[in-house]
Amino acid sequence: MTPDLWASLYIAILAAFTGFEVIARVPALLHTPLMSGSNFIHGIVLVGAILALGRAQTPLETSIGFLAVALASANVLGGYAVTARMLDMFESGKKKPGAPGVR
């Protein structure tokens, strides 16, 4: 099991740096949509919730799994709708000047 632990650590560290780098130069005007977008992305917990409910053995596991799937679905669908609505507003504007906010 040790190699898996190390692999997980490597993955975690690389993912962390990716997360930092990807949004390092984000302009302030996108802070809120980006927070909302990343809020949607951690909705991937739905995958884990589905697997947990699908493999539930006991009534207790089934109930907790049901709760997990319901909560995660709210995270995913609510998070997506909020973000998409917010970003839709940017397109309603006129042609943007070249690369606004890049400083």
């Binding site: 949004i23 927070m35 951690h42 907790i64 709760l67 909020v82 970003l87 504007g93």
Partner: protein, 451 residues
């Protein structure tokens, strides 16, 4: 721990999430970014649902409908002004889901190696994020007083609750006694609640962002605990991006994250008396002031958002410009409830990007501004921030007071979100224009055309 044979679709999903975040960090591509992430999410969810050997398929669909449908409908319906608390509540649900998965893992008769400690980690962070986000939601929604809740021995009490939770976790991991799971998670929930109570309104954006990062980490911990790399990597990604975002926001308010989380902002009593009096102005006089100005700066705040006044504000901008004046918008990083809140609303009203200026870009220009029109902003223009000892001390503000004339458009005489009296309103060059922002700006446009 990672499963050795994750379906390749998970890998593709993670890749798309990263690209989506990248695209969402740029205004021109932001809208496409969320679509990419959405497609990746659908693919990953379908792959999970179609995993061979999965049971309870009907229940899964029912649960998705039960949780997802109301969230989807609500998110499509609530006014844009309520978006911050919607983010808070959906984020909390993600944390709750991570905690629920942790509970299932920990209650199992046999633990896979490393799954228990990772589940404990995810469970603790998830519960804190869940109850903390719920409190943030209640405060922003106005269902709970937004002021900081302070009582004696608060910090020691909170630390005691956290220590008790960790003790339960320790006993659970050491002895394997499953009866510790419920008190462990319950104490985590209690800690999240207690930790958020003393945080006052002004700091809420930073707190929501902080809990967003926490949920990411909880999801990551659970992902590694159950051996799902997609969850692990996406969670870490959000945890890292969210942490950076939180620090950027805290920096914009000149507050350290420690101050935000443990400083009890807005709790300090205002002792000093404010000198001067409030001087109201008539609509027609305000219109005249705008009509004969050559440089106008509009400072929007939460009041504009509440009243949905952005379209009227755009009309006002056009009307003032039609008379030959220049109009600029001064956007404080945390105007409204969240960074970028004003930008989103003004973009909705078709105000061009190049009229919006950051605090750093525009602060020196107030001295040569004829009329500064503050629409529903309060704390971000409060000169008390320049005075040591004020609860706002050190917060970077827009130096609106330097303008020749300052017109404050405000619904009533209430204080800002921080609860601190605004000295700007009492200055000699300040006039108060009371009324609903949309209503008043609309009338102002009409008056302006008559001048």
């Amino acid at each position: 721990m990672l499963a050795r044979f994750d379906p390749p679709v998970y890998l593709a999903a993670v890749l798309f999430f990263i690209l989506a975040l990248k695209r969402m960090s740029h205004p021109a591509t932001a809208k496409g970014g969320i679509r990419w992430a959405g497609a990746a999410m659908i693919a990953a969810t379908l792959a999970a649902f179609l995993t061979p050997g999965l049971g309870h398929l009907g229940l899964i669909l029912a649960a998705v409908a039960a949780g997802g449908a109301p969230a989807w409908l609500l998110a499509g319906k609530v006014p844009m002004t309520d978006m911050p608390q919607m983010i808070a509540i959906y984020n909390g649900m993600g944390g709750g889901a991570a905690a629920a998965i942790a509970a299932i893992e920990l209650l199992r008769a046999r633990w896979a190696p490393l799954s228990a400690p990772l589940s404990v980690l995810g469970g603790l962070i998830g519960t804190i994020s869940f109850s903390g986000s719920v409190i943030a939601f209640l405060k922003l929604q106005g269902w709970m007083r937004s002021r900081a809740v302070i009582y004696p021995l608060q910090k020691p009490g909170n630390i005691l609750v956290l220590a008790a939770s960790l003790l339960c976790a320790g006993v659970l991991l050491h002895s394997g006694d499953r009866s510790c799971v419920v008190p462990f998670l319950a104490l985590g929930l209690l800690f999240g609640l207690l930790m958020t109570l003393p945080i006052g309104g002004g700091d809420m954006p930073v707190v929501i962002s902080f809990y967003n990062a926490l949920t990411g980490l909880a999801v990551a911990a659970e992902g590694f605990a159950v051996g799902n790399a997609a969850m692990g990597v996406s969670g870490i990604l959000v945890g890292a991006a969210g942490t950076l975002l939180t620090l950027l926001m805290a920096k914009a308010m000149n507050r350290s994250l420690g101050d935000v989380l443990f400083g009890a902002f807005g709790a300090a009593e205002q002792t000093s008396e404010v000198q001067g009096s409030l001087k109201p102005i008539e609509l027609s006089d305000a219109a005249v002031a705008l009509a004969y100005a050559s440089r106008v700066v509009i400072v929007p705040g939460f009041g504009m958002a509440v009243a949905q006044a952005q379209h009227k504000v755009k009309e006002l901008m056009d009307a003032v410009e039609a008379r030959g004046a220049t109009v600029k918008f001064a956007i404080h990083p945390v105007a409204g409830r969240m960074p970028g809140h004003m930008n989103v609303l003004l973009a909705e009203a078709n105000v061009p990007y190049d009229r919006l200026f950051d605090r750093d870009e525009i602060n020196s220009e107030f001295a040569t501004t004829d009329v500064a029109l503050v629409i529903g902003a309060n704390d971000v223009v409060n000169p008390a921030a320049h005075r040591p000892g004020s609860p706002l001390a050190g917060m970077p503000i827009l130096d609106v007071e330097n303008a020749k004339t300052v017109i404050i458009l405000k619904r009533g005489q209430g204080k800002g979100f921080s609860g601190v009296e605004n000295e700007l309103f009492y200055r000699d060059n300040t006039r108060m224009l009371y009324g609903d922002a949309r209503d008043t700006v609309g009338k102002l446009v009409l008056e302006l055309k008559k001048v």
